[in-house]
Subunit: 139 residues, 2 copies
DNA sequence: AGAAAACCGAGTGATTTAATCGGGATTGTA
DNA sequence: TACAATCCCGATTAAATCACTCGGTTTTCT
């Protein structure tokens, strides 16, 4: 039940962008430096985030990345799904892919994984970047 | 956010044992056959489950495995933790291992993973094998 | 022009996963 | 007692995944 470095770094980087929201575009190198992440790896992470419409890029000198929406409007679930694919503890409960199980007791246990999937989804969709960056104030 | 085949198979196999609780020891081969799992792989899964005290074994001919406790007393969380290690979406929120993060915004995001960890734990500890095998009745 | 930055596909070494292999020890039954 | 069924258990392996790195191209500011 781990998330990958891609997901973890992605959320960290997005939190950094949220902190600098309205400060103009931040270069990827700067974020990578602050977070101690390889900037080449972070490039790989920002590509899908941009394509998903979560960040916008400014090319050329003085360019960089900005959140595409206000921190209040970006859910952690959006980031995680973009970087890790659909939230589902086992393949057979991926939403959309619900082909009925052949084995009977596989289906017995299916309810567990559906419930887990929905709970995880709900938690990650309940937290926005705004919540993350204001959590300093509320201990 | 996937669990491994080990975890999934383990839960399936335990559900099978729960269905046959009080029917005497069931040979591993029989469980493997029913669930379509390699019996050699299932052996690897049953070893830690036995060492964790979740199942007991009967050696020799007519031997097999039995749940060590009633289905009501075995939580899915027990099985998953035994087979997959501690429930924690990222390394730095593994319980017991809580060394404080160095990076500031890593700690900003820490709350997310703690909340996720606790929620997942709570869901898996709320479901017992008894719940799983009786879910046929309650659609 | 030149530097700074985003864009992007391909490659790579290490680790993990999902098994298999090959045997040994125990016990009920003929 | 033989022997078949069963659990016990470390070692090995093939494939997949992960966490990067490489080597460039394109865009834009100064």
């Amino acid at each position: 039940m781990k998330i990958t470095a891609k997901g973890e770094y992605g959320v960290r980087a997005m939190a950094t962008l949220a902190l600098e929201y309205r400060a103009g575009p931040i270069p990827l190198r700067e974020i990578a430096r602050r977070e101690g992440i390889s900037h080449q790896f972070l490039e790989q992470i920002f590509l899908p985030l941009r394509r998903a419409g979560l960040i916008t890029s400014v090319r050329g000198a003085k360019g960089g990345y900005v959140l595409a929406k206000a921190p209040e409007e970006i859910k952690i679930g959006d980031i995680v799904r973009t970087l890790e694919g659909p939230i589902a503890p086992v393949e057979c409960v991926v939403e959309g892919k619900e082909e009925s199980c052949k084995r009977s007791s596989a289906c017995l246990t299916r309810g567990i994984w559906e419930r887990l999937r929905d709970t995880v989804s709900a938690v990650l969709d309940d937290i926005t970047l705004a919540d993350v960056i204001t959590s300093i104030d509320a201990p």
